[in-house]
Symmetry: C2
Subunit: 145 residues, 2 copies
């Protein structure tokens, strides 16, 4: 099972791509930090200082300004694959499409996990839109669990 | 079955309450319009111009700067109850808690509806946070379905 979220951001694909892979930008809309610049084959440590949490993501595929595929949860025995695709529809309008796969339909908690995951992606992408379009840097890390 | 979403907004509860009930504000973060100022007992027509959609919400309870309960979907035979509670934790910080009840666990499409609903609430509340904290008015209506 999977979740999918799509949002339109009024920026070129290259700006959105850079926001994901550039460790100086990610803290403005998503995790608090990533350990280095993302590139294919790397294992990146991402941290949420606010929740005292961290994890490792493995970058499987990167196509400049178009696509990022990474795996996370490998160390927890429940690997998920995340695919981010940037569809630039006009010079400064891009649909960001995120698909996360790997939910086990036999997990008794699967509905909760899907719902929570969808909320997380909508949140991250709305914060990304705010950051790129308006320069907001403190919309993130305000969802209460 | 229900969804619940909570977010912290760095504003007093009265400002958040007014953003929901004041028809001159709602178009900055959620629906494109509501037909009149919300108050207990009223039926309000809300519109999403972008999706050519409209609906009626029935305001069941309002407690100033603290709580709003409304019903929607009555006309479609699938009434949902939405409860918005504002927990002001400090003079300028409020947790907004939204619970939506009425999902039928026997509906074969219920997982999709819960996931979609959660995404919708996270989106509306993040746009509300952006609007009140930063003055963003065009984060809304960018999710692609």
């Amino acid at each position: 099972m999977y979740t999918q979220t799509k949002i339109e951001i009024r920026k070129p694909a290259k700006d959105i791509f850079d926001a994901f892979i550039n460790p100086s930008k990610i803290g403005n809309f998503w995790f608090s930090s990533s350990s280095e610049r993302w590139s294919e084959g790397k294992a990146i440590t991402i941290k949420y200082d606010e929740y005292e949490a961290e994890g490792i993501i493995h970058i499987l595929t990167m196509i400049d300004s178009y696509k990022i595929v990474y795996e996370w949860g490998r160390e927890d025995g429940e690997p998920h694959i995340v695919t981010i695709i940037l569809h630039e529809s006009q010079p400064d309008k891009t649909i960001v499409e995120v698909t996360e796969e790997g939910f086990d339909q036999d997990d008794p908690d699967v509905i909760h996990k899907l719902v929570d995951n969808k909320g997380g992606w909508v949140y991250a992408l709305t914060c990304l839109k705010g950051y790129l379009e308006y320069g907001t840097s403190r919309l993130r890390a305000a969802l209460v669990h």
